[in-house]
């Protein structure tokens, strides 16, 4: 067993996890943060994307023990109270989801790409968004509105 202390959505958590526990298992099963989804469980689909120290990562492909000392943000941590994050609002405005299963990962990847492009002074146009979504799969194939949502949020974040 591994003792870990980390911050999840601004809350400090100290606990013990199985050494082999994945970060996503810890978030969902131990903390009850079931907004982070397990889609493929093989690092392809991106439904499990969370931010670790401010960077998008696949929580099904990272050990919980490796997140010791890190700041983790999940989909539950992006809204401010009842006020949705601009990326969440944009998905709502543009009907950026159909079944909604991939949405938490899409939103976490969307926030990450907008922040990165802004930091680098690059323009996040439609082509760049489509390229950046390489690791997020929507089985409803609703990419068009997902891209529109991220474009809108990029202007509002």
């Amino acid at each position: 067993m591994a003792d870990i202390t980390l911050t999840v959505n601004g809350q400090r958590v100290s606990t013990t996890v199985e050494d082999r526990a994945l970060l996503v298992e810890f978030l969902r099963d131990a903390l009850g943060l079931t907004g982070t989804h397990v889609g493929c469980d093989t690092s392809q689909c991106g439904a499990c994307v969370v931010h670790v120290d401010g960077k998008a990562m696949k929580s099904c492909t990272m050990l919980a023990a490796a997140a010791d000392g890190c700041e983790v943000t999940t989909i539950e941590g992006v809204a401010k109270g009842d006020a949705l994050h601009p990326m969440q609002k944009a998905f709502n405005d543009n009907h950026g989801l159909q079944c909604g299963f991939c949405t938490p990962g899409m939103i976490m990847s969307g926030i990450d790409m907008v922040a990165r492009y802004r930091a680098d002074g690059r323009t996040l146009d439609e082509a760049a968004i489509r390229e950046e979504l390489e690791g997020n799969i929507c089985r409803c194939t609703g990419y068009h509105n997902i891209v529109k949502s991220i474009q809108q949020a990029a202007g509002e974040m």
Binding site: D19, K55, A56, A66, S109, G135
Partner: protein
């Protein structure tokens, strides 16, 4: 995933000690290949020694044209380094084509070349650049390092510290990704430097990354896409699988070589 014991190494010496004290321990860097492999129960190390947080193994140093990349530097860091891009854009481009943004935030150059997946991108760049792989025991030239599919010159417990090379005059990488996995069905890295032309191919060969010597010779006489036409790539040395047969991959080597040349 089978049970394992996780250790976070504070230093390279610490990692070495933890590894030799374990039964069947294994180093873990970003874990972007190792964790999926363990989940599929294709690997079951008794211990995992995490070296990804060792500060001394991270970072990119550019001094003149000499480049040194710490083994635990992530693909995103290599792709995003303006300093590296100014002297060696080909390698920064290559790193930006690995996996997807989330994978690039975690995967590392050291982890990639230690694994030496025959369809991974870095081996082509490292071999094409005639890089030197520095470990906790010695320095190994890329020509001696890559020994075949998933096989390297690393000894048991040997730890990669960094990858260094002299940035060539020009270099570029062209990749034909598998449409589903995005691994290289064929990736060609071409470097033009003081010591001549080097062409390294990943994804296509039946024994991992290799140097395409016929292409190197043809390009040293005529450094142009047209020179590629006259070269025959031996299909007998290519990988053949459900994603592409050997003849298809042999053709891809030439097509990707042309694209890399066009990008230089």
């Amino acid at each position: 995933m089978h049970e394992t014991t996780y250790h976070r190494a504070a230093s390279v010496e610490d990692a070495s000690r933890l590894l030799s004290a374990s039964d069947e321990g294994q180093l873990i860097a970003g874990g972007q290949t190792l964790i999926p492999t363990m989940k599929a129960r294709l690997a079951a190390p008794s211990d995992l020694v995490d070296i990804s947080r060792i500060g001394a193994l991270r970072g990119i140093e550019v001094s003149g044209r000499r480049v040194t990349i710490g083994a635990m530097t992530t693909h995103a860091e290599v792709a995003g380094s303006a300093e590296l891009r100014s002297v060696c854009p080909g390698l920064a481009d290559l790193a930006g084509l690995i996996g997807d943004p989330a994978v690039r935030h975690r995967g590392t150059i050291g982890g990639s070349i230690a694994n030496n997946d025959p369809a991974s991108d870095y081996p082509a760049g490292v071999l094409g650049l005639a890089a030197v792989i520095r470990t906790d025991k010695r320095e190994i030239s890329a020509d001696d390092y890559f020994e075949g599919m998933f096989t390297t010159a690393l000894d048991e417990g040997e730890i990669i510290l960094s990858v260094s090379f002299d940035a060539p005059e020009a270099c570029a990488y062209a990749k034909f990704p598998n449409p589903a996995s995005r691994y290289a069905l064929c990736g060609v890295f071409i470097a033009k430097g003081a010591d001549g032309i080097r062409v390294a191919v990943t994804g296509a060969g039946n024994d991992g990354v290799f140097r395409a010597s016929a292409l190197e010779q043809a390009l040293s006489l005529d450094f142009s896409p047209a020179a590629v036409d006259g070269v025959t790539v031996d299909a007998d040395e290519m990988l053949s699988d459900i994603h592409g047969d050997a003849a298809y991959r042999a053709n891809l080597v030439k097509v990707m070589a042309k694209r890399a040349l066009a990008a230089m």
